[in-house]
């Protein structure tokens, strides 16, 4: 046994011994979501209150002293009901914990071992009270593999990572495996990139490995620009060492000695935790020269993005690291041939890299037990929209939409959050580059290939669930608006094409469209898809094309009949005042920007449909619900 492993073993045995010696551990979720909800105050309150209760509180494991060990963790995925607090060893799971609840928790649970029922999670559909996560359907139906440590460990403590067998895979890769071995193993595991493309990671590595030259790079793509997706953030905040370990393995596999983690700047906490993790890894000889007592050298640094979605694209990301405008360049040459500074470069997604050490530790077979033949393993999703439980989840690939929506997310809700049986309309999968799935896809296995066949994309794992009241044209417009404003502006089809697509969608939504509009839109969308330079432009039309495909009627209703079936498109709605409900309060008349509403005080008001610009301001102002929007 070599030096590092001995060192690691000592860290591990010490940590576990000390851990066992401390009777209680309080895990306070300190992911972005819970922090927003005030979990830092909860944390501080715990430290203070326990001290005041004359217990010995520790925030860092140093030796065997201490009664209660209070730590911060990364996101546990269910931010909606945060701040979350878990009490170990019992595993009691408290939700929506406020600083004022802390005293109760300390008195009742920590001191007496009793459960505080009012802070437990109540499953809304069955009204079942759940004591621990294993009883909560949101967690029960998931397979938390990559996210396993997230929320259960202190992401800022490298010793805890090591105590959970961290860096063992990296040490093995650096010493006991040849680059070919590693590539072969990763290829055999069948893992495909989690960043969107679904490319075989083993193959990508092997290509870079075979490139001549002694300078190569490995880059972790933590740009996560997909609006409404925060899976990679969860990992970066909750388990940063797993990414570093994955990168070490990758660097060994392709013989790179330098790496970058490119993090979206809107994630300050992720940046902070990764920086700390890198620093700690250097201290322990896990990064730097001759790491982990092998002959492998690997240096790692963080680069913060500066606000450009397109920098998630590989060549744009490279340009950005080189200090240029983040404009993609044509492939070939591929980064694995000529990447950063013209050297062979492998770019992998955060989740991909974070899975790598696990593959080496559980073994290829175990890994392949999860997921499907061609899409093995698990995948994280950020599920949002009209579902009861929104959050960060992880499922084996091949799970169905039904599993996710009804199993994990607790079913569809109305706009105001009430359960809505049979309310499912569509799911936008893969964010702005994905497409939409409908009822008929509820039992489709969600894996890279099947979703693609259905005209959408797993993408990075954004999953927006929409209820029946959602106007599908407006949804398409929303994504179009996003890609349009994020286009880098380099190639004509994407720069001008997305702009014109947006104009056409606005025409449809605002009642100016003719049947010709739909045809032009479709032609244009196809051209942008086929002809754009990079993935952003190539996928930008997906939301439009897939909704045109799946919800043609709804588009036609807007165009032919100037009618929005969900009543969401205000310009296609006729606003009228119900004589029986109007109290003549004059509020609406004041709100109307064009003075289309007339009427005396205490008299029924009227809207002049000729003057009305259908802005919808009045409908929101009437406290008596007298104003209605109906089909034009």
């Amino acid at each position: 046994m070599n030096k590092t492993l001995i060192g690691f073993n000592k860290i591990k045995t010490d940590y576990i011994a000390w851990e066992n010696a401390v009777p209680h551990r309080v895990l306070v979720c300190a992911g972005t979501g819970c922090l927003v909800n005030g979990s830092m105050k909860v944390y501080e309150e715990f430290v203070k209150t326990i001290k005041e209760a004359n217990l010995n509180v520790i925030v860092e494991l140093k030796d065997e002293e201490g009664d209660v060990f209070v730590s911060k963790t990364g996101c546990q995925g269910f931010c909606q009901i945060g701040p979350l607090v878990t009490i170990l060893p019992e595993g009691i799971f408290y939700t929506r914990v406020k600083p004022k609840d802390v005293k109760d928790i300390v008195e009742t649970t920590i001191k007496k071992g009793d459960i505080l029922h009012r802070l437990l999670y109540i499953e809304p559909n069955m009204l079942k009270v759940c004591k621990e996560t294993s009883e909560i359907p949101f967690y029960q139906k998931q397979r938390r593999f990559v996210l396993g440590n997230c929320g259960m460990t202190d992401p800022e403590d490298i010793r805890e990572y090591i105590a959970r067998d961290g860096y063992v895979s990296a040490a093995r890769a650096c010493k006991d495996m040849s680059p070919e071995d590693i590539c072969r193993t990763i290829l055999a595991s069948g893992i495909r990139g989690r960043g969107g493309g679904g490319f075989l990671t083993g193959k990508k590595w092997d290509m870079a490995r075979q490139q001549p030259g002694d300078k190569k790079y490995i880059i972790c793509n933590g740009d996560e620009g997909d609006p409404g997706a925060f899976m990679d953030m969860g990992i970066m905040e909750g388990n940063p060492h797993s990414i570093i370990e994955g990168m070490i393995i990758a660097s060994r596999a392709i013989h790179a000695d330098e790496g970058y983690i490119y993090v979206r700047a809107e994630y300050p906490l992720a940046v902070k935790r990764i920086r700390k993790a890198i620093k700690d890894a250097y201290t322990l000889g896990i990064l730097g020269k001759r790491i982990l007592s092998s002959d492998h050298t690997f240096n790692l640094q963080v680069m913060e993005g500066a606000g450009a979605f397109v920098c998630g694209e590989e060549t744009a990301l490279i340009a950005s690291i080189e200090g240029k405008r983040g404009m993609p360049s044509p492939k070939p040459p591929f980064p694995s041939q000529s990447g950063l500074w013209g050297k062979p470069t492998v770019i992998n997604n955060v989740e991909t890299l974070s899975t790598i050490p696990l593959i080496l530790s559980v073994g290829v077979n175990k890994f392949r037990e999860m997921g499907t033949e061609n899409s093995p393993g698990t995948k994280t999703f950020a599920i949002t929209g009209h579902v009861l439980n929104t959050g960060l989840i992880e499922m084996p690939l091949g799970s169905t939409l039904r599993d996710m929506i009804y199993g994990v997310a607790g079913g569809i809700t109305s706009d105001d959050g009430k359960p809505m049986a049979d309310g499912f309309k569509a799911a936008q999968i893969g964010g702005p580059s994905g497409g939409c799935l409908t009822k008929e896809h509820l039992d489709l296995p969600i894996d890279f290939d099947s979703v693609k066949e259905a005209g959408a994309m797993v993408g990075s794992g954004g999953l927006v669930i929409m209820n029946k009241n959602t106007c599908i044209v407006s949804v398409a417009r929303f994504f179009m608006q996003f890609t349009q404003s994020e286009s880098c502006g380099k190639c004509v089809l994407c720069r001008e094409g997305t702009k014109q697509m947006l104009v056409l969608l606005d025409d449809i939504i605002e009642g100016r469209a003719t049947e010709e509009t739909l045809k032009i839109l479709e032609d244009l969308a196809t051209a942008v898809q086929k002809g754009s330079l990079c993935g952003l432009g190539k996928t930008a039309p997906n939301p439009v094309l897939s909704t045109l495909n799946n919800f043609r009627d709804e588009y036609e209703a807007h165009v032919k009949y100037k009618y929005c079936p969900t009543g969401k498109c205000k310009a296609l709605t006729k606003f009228t005042i119900d004589e029986n409900l109007c109290k003549g309060c004059m509020l609406c008349a004041k709100k109307c920007p064009v003075n289309a509403i007339t009427g005396e005080r205490k008299q029924v008001h009227r809207i002049d449909p000729i003057i009305c610009i259908r802005c919808g301001a009045c409908i929101e102002s009437c406290t008596f619900g007298a104003i209605k929007g109906e089909k034009l």
Partner: protein, 168 residues
């Protein structure tokens, strides 16, 4: 001496980054952290120092949305319009604040330089949609009313501060 300190800071930043044009983005980030925006003269200076054309520095500074060449308000409000927030009607927040602060899409900073209002695509607080961030502070599960309150609080606090300074 204040300006000298800042100026030396720019030097320090450029030096720390090895006067290396590939470190342009980190340099701009650090300079913006110091000045809260990127003044034209400093950008020219950076260009000269790292040996690239000012046009290129300008091109980079205007490409990335987090860089700004205009001074921003003291409170930088960014309302999230990521997917999760959008479906939770985050634009209502934005519109309410726009109205409150008397701003338009083309005019995002108040005349007294107290507020700048922008949108952002996802803050990673999607579970708490709709969300917004004021300087570093993130707020979740907002309503237009609550957002207005937050702004009122700031305005009140500022008014107090001013009184304090006057009293001093």
């Amino acid at each position: 001496m204040e300006t000298l300190r800042k100026f030396e800071k720019v030097w320090e930043i450029i030096d720390q980054n090895g006067r290396d044009s590939s470190r342009l983005i980190p340099i701009l980030q650090a300079v913006q952290a110091e000045y809260r925006y990127l003044p034209e003269e400093i950008l020219t200076f950076i260009a000269t120092s790292v040996g690239i054309s000012p046009a290129r520095v300008f091109g980079v500074a205007t490409f990335y949305s987090l860089f700004t060449l205009k001074p921003k308000g003291k409170y930088h409000i960014r309302v999230c319009n990521g997917t999760a927030c959008h479906v939770k009607r985050s634009m209502d927040l934005h519109n309410a604040l726009q109205k409150k602060l008397n701003l338009r899409d083309e005019k995002d900073t108040t005349d007294d330089m107290l507020f700048t209002l922008e949108t952002v695509n996802c803050l990673g607080a999607c579970g708490l949609a709709p969300a917004m961030v004021v300087n570093e502070e993130v707020y979740g599960q907002l309503t237009p009313e609550r957002a207005n309150e937050i702004i009122d609080d700031i305005i009140n606090a500022e008014a107090h501060n001013e009184q304090d300074t006057h009293r001093l």
